[in-house]
Amino acid sequence: MRVHVDPEKCQGHNRCYALAPELFDVDDFGNAFELNDGIVPEGLEGKARSAAANCPEYAISVSE
């Protein structure tokens, strides 16, 4: 599974960083990006889906 933050859509709500800091980080301006090229380690699939499902801007995509 992989996750990706669309930088054009991200407005810095930081929900993904709060819900899944293992998968996302934020820069000095609060813009989010995926860690580890977006590869979701085994066991964190639920967190990846949760981050995507809580993004108000629909900026996060998850691919299986």
């Binding site: 930081n14 000095d28 609060g30 499902a53 809580n54 629909y58």
Partner: protein, 404 residues
């Protein structure tokens, strides 16, 4: 006092967000409008529109071409020719449009990113504990007046690096700007003289210029726009914006959450027994009781959802109504503190996302955590005594609770 406005006759064609019915309980009004319009209009305030569905609110928030943020508070007065024109506006970046908006916002963003906000958590927690200590032995407490209102106020004062004992000047100032809008200029002057506030801030700016500190005031004085330092007027304006935007709003969110817990014993007991639910509960309170309704001015004549909008019309942007849209949220009218999927728009959508959202979330979480630790059992002392603020920031201004 100003002449009372005529009561609303029909919500689809004559709405008014200061009508007592809206102030007391706006949710049934928005539910009715969603099935009728869904973009309502009123001739009040010189002509104002009101979308109430999530998709429409989002579409307006994303459309910075047809809607300008030049003024974001609906009133009888539109910005005049002497006011700063778009794209800068009176209080950048909230009143700015692209492309200037991004510059003014980028300047502030680093101070409000998650990591610097995390550093304020210990101070916030100590403050909450101190406020709760002051209520020791009381059987009845006002959760809004004695607790919620002090938290964002004193955190902002701390961020700016001002003495804590000066917080009351800001409390009076906010009241004048946001809550006494129906009073005469003389009555408002009696609460606080704007000159007093400007002089106070200028003195603090001078101190910080002489001796820079590790705080938001020195951060702003050191910031650069196009290679130039901001002038002190810009810095003072930004400080005032942060106070106006950061205090009433979070006070409202904390107050509404405690109000909910005070009259929903099942949720209160569950949160006390399962404190790990706080993360989803905070988001659900933000969804269900989102305090902030924004506004836009129509920038150019155009057709939106079949309505003919004219340049200069107001448009109220009710994120709280978007958050109650059943097309977007299952059981939108039910508060579910364990709701796991929650794309609510309490902090807005698009380029004007509330810059203080990390700060507000931290304050709300810490305030509820410390309250629930101290007072897991409480109830509304008298539901009839709960009063709600009028205007575009909605929250309870008195929440008398009995400690059980």
């Amino acid at each position: 006092m100003a002449t009372p406005r005529p009561r609303v006759s029909d919500w689809a064609t004559d709405f008014d967000h200061t009508d007592p019915e809206w102030v007391a309980d706006p949710y049934p009004i928005w539910d009715e409008l969603r099935t009728r319009c869904p973009v309502a209009h009123t001739d009040r305030y010189g002509g104002t529109w009101l979308p109430v569905c999530h998709d429409d609110v989002a579409a307006v928030a994303y459309d910075t071409e047809h809607f300008t943020s030049r003024s974001v508070v609906v009133s009888e007065v539109r910005p005049g020719p002497d006011d700063l024109p778009a794209p800068i506006g009176l209080a950048p970046p909230i009143t700015s449009d692209p492309p200037f908006h991004a510059l003014a916002r980028r300047l502030l963003l680093p101070a409000f990113a998650p990591k610097p906000i995390e550093a304020l958590e210990p101070f916030t927690r100590e403050l909450c504990v101190e406020l709760l200590d002051a209520t020791a032995g009381e059987r009845q407490i006002d959760a809004a007046v004695d607790y919620a209102q002090h938290i964002p106020l004193r955190v902002i004062v701390r961020m700016l690096g001002f003495p804590q004992e000066d917080a009351d000047l800001f409390r009076r100032f906010i009241r004048m700007v946001l809550e006494d809008v129906d009073q005469s200029a003389e009555e408002r002057q009696a609460v606080v003289d704007e000159g007093e506030l400007d002089a106070y801030i200028d003195a603090r700016i001078a101190e910080h210029l002489a001796e820079p500190q590790d705080d938001l005031t020195s951060f702003l004085l050191d910031a650069e726009l196009d290679g130039n330092k901001l002038d002190p007027d810009h810095v003072r304006g930004t400080m005032v914006l942060l106070m106006i935007a950061g205090i009433d709003t979070t006070w409202s969110a904390i107050g509404a959450s405690l109000w909910h817990l005070a009259h929903n014993p099942a949720d209160r007991r569950r949160l006390a027994a399962e404190p790990e639910l706080l993360a989803t509960a905070v988001e659900e309170f933000l969804r269900a009781y989102a305090p902030v309704t924004m506004a836009r001015l129509v920038a150019t004549d155009f057709d939106f959802r079949g309505r003919e909008m004219k340049e200069g019309d107001w448009l109220l942007l009710p994120f709280p109504a978007a958050n109650r849209d059943p097309e977007h949220f299952p059981d939108a009218d039910k508060v579910q503190i364990d709701r796991v999927e929650n794309r609510h728009a309490a902090f807005g959508l698009g380029i004007h996302r509330c810059i203080g959202s990390n700060l507000a979330r931290m304050e709300l979480r810490v305030a509820l955590e410390e309250w629930m630790k101290r007072y897991p059992d409480f109830e509304l002392a008298d539901p009839a005594e709960v009063t709600w603020s009028a205007g575009q920031v909605r929250g309870p201004r008195t929440v008398p609770v009995r400690i059980l």
